[in-house]
Amino acid sequence: MEILNVTGLHASYSSSGPEILKGIDFAVEDDDFFAIIGPSGAGKSTLIRCINRLVEPSKGTILFDGREVTRLPRRELRRLRRDIGVIFQEFNLIDRMSVMDNVLSGRLGYIGNFRTLFRAFPRSDIDQGLRLLDRVGLIDHVDKRADELSGGQRQRVGIARALMQNPKMLLLDEPTSALDPKISREIMGLVKQMATELNVPCLCNIHDVQLATEFCNKIIGLQDGYMMFNGPTEEMDEAKLNEIYAMEVL
């Protein structure tokens, strides 16, 4: 079953600025681990951010779980974002809050303003947060402040936060490019494992082609806002990679 369908997507950061995405089409099935590869500046991050409208697309349709994303009003948009977990490149944790509070902040879409003010999360949320923290291996760090953790640990908090949302899909925006290779692999493994277990499809934007081929079953290749490749990982070969990365000056 298709969870996400993107057709003819265009986007630019400002109405007068250059277009960053120039007509992207792809579809994510509900058991996919989907990779977006391409040189830096190709528009990978913009594409990811368009899907939950952190960046407003200028043209095209995004169909997520039967909802047309580009035309949702604010309230509905918040509902939609609640259903899409995002894991960021720079983790985007709240540095001065504890690990537990960071994880619980994944539930914000479900709780009201009054509970927000007093950080009073329901017991079931707290229990789920603890289970998740146990699974990502941070149960000993529950009360530490987020900025006391190492990079890999912080990304684990990011994963737990995204999974707290009970997401129907995960978006990963270069989840490993701020980490060293060994930890990158661990983190990708963890995401994959959790995603399979919880039946969450992932759309992952990734710079490292090797990691992409290792973990993902489908790949799209972007170059300068155009889609150069769209297909299963097995069809990806050296020639196509060279074509995608042709414009990158090393």
Binding site: M1, D30, D65, M100, L130, R131, D134, N199
Partner: protein, 279 residues
């Protein structure tokens, strides 16, 4: 399937609560103390809380009826404009002398560069602190009582005020420098003064310019009112009209102060931007 929100099964690994025995207790206790203290303050100062809301209505009333419309002709008067120029001059001199005094004082009061940590450092600290601690109005009153009415008292009051203000900032700036160049200077056998000129001053030049401009800004604001107790400038006008309850004129004077301060603020922001760029 995946449309169904999925949950992680299994036991909760540990008990966790946001509230931990001594920490949370102490924190809430401290907040409670602060709150009680504030309530006690209100009680002690006899603040009529029940009348408080009415006050705001009255305030609007008074502004609308008495202070409006401002008597703009009054501030266009030649004599008043003369006083404005004098106020600016007073602020200028005060800031200049203050910054002049600050240069040695800031140096002496910076712990890392002071000539003598045991004697000069505490002395310089004491001087800057007392300059800063005593309000410019009190300085103005003291100088008026010693030197008589006139702008000399105002200039001196502003000088001390600026010394205290800029001295602390400058000392902090000097304390934050990179000690590398200083050590390099010292190892060439330079004396303290030479070290200051070649090792420290280049590092703080831009910051010092910023401080100087900021000081002028602050001095001008203070200069508009030191005249209140006879130390010259437009403050005297303000006082006279306040005492005579010429509220519309007071409003006009306040507007003129506002405009002048805005101009000075714009100019100093521009100058500071320029100084930063020169770096």
């Amino acid at each position: 399937m995946s449309n169904q929100p999925s949950r992680i099964a299994g036991d909760v690994p540990i008990r966790w609560s946001r509230y931990k025995f001594p920490d949370t207790f102490l924190r809430y206790g401290a907040w409670l103390c602060v709150f009680v203290f504030l309530v006690y303050c209100v009680e002690y100062l006899n603040i009529p809380l029940d009348r408080l809301l009415g006050v705001f209505g009255r305030m609007g009333d008074i502004v609308a009826n008495r202070y409006y419309p401002p008597d703009m002709e009054y501030i266009m008067d030649r004599e008043y404009l003369d006083y404005v120029v004098e106020t600016i001059q007073m602020a200028y001199l005060g800031a200049l002398f203050g910054i002049g005094l600050t240069l040695p004082l800031g140096w002496f009061a910076a712990y890392n560069m002071t000539p003598s940590r045991r004697f000069i450092y505490p002395l310089a600290r004491l001087i800057t602190m007392s300059c800063r601690a005593v309000h410019e109005m009190i300085w103005a009153i003291l100088f008026v009582s010693i030197l008589g009415y006139g702008m000399l008292a105002g200039v001196l009051a502003l000088t001390l005020f600026c010394t205290g203000f800029a001295g602390k900032l400058l000392a902090e700036e000097i304390e934050a420098i990179d000690m590398g160049p200083v050590e390099a200077m010292r190892s060439t056998g330079a004396n303290l003064f030479q070290t200051m000129i070649f090792g420290v001053f280049p590092q703080i030049r831009v910051a010092f310019t910023g401080i100087a401009i900021y000081t002028w800004d602050v001095a001008f604001r203070a200069a508009t009112v030191v005249g209140f107790f006879g130390a010259g400038g437009m403050g005297w006008y303000l006082k006279r009209n306040v005492l005579q309850i010429e509220t519309e004129r007071v409003a006009a004077i306040l507007i003129s102060i506002l405009i002048l301060v805005m101009i000075s603020e714009t100019v100093s922001a521009w100058a500071r931007g320029k100084a930063m760029k020169m770096q």
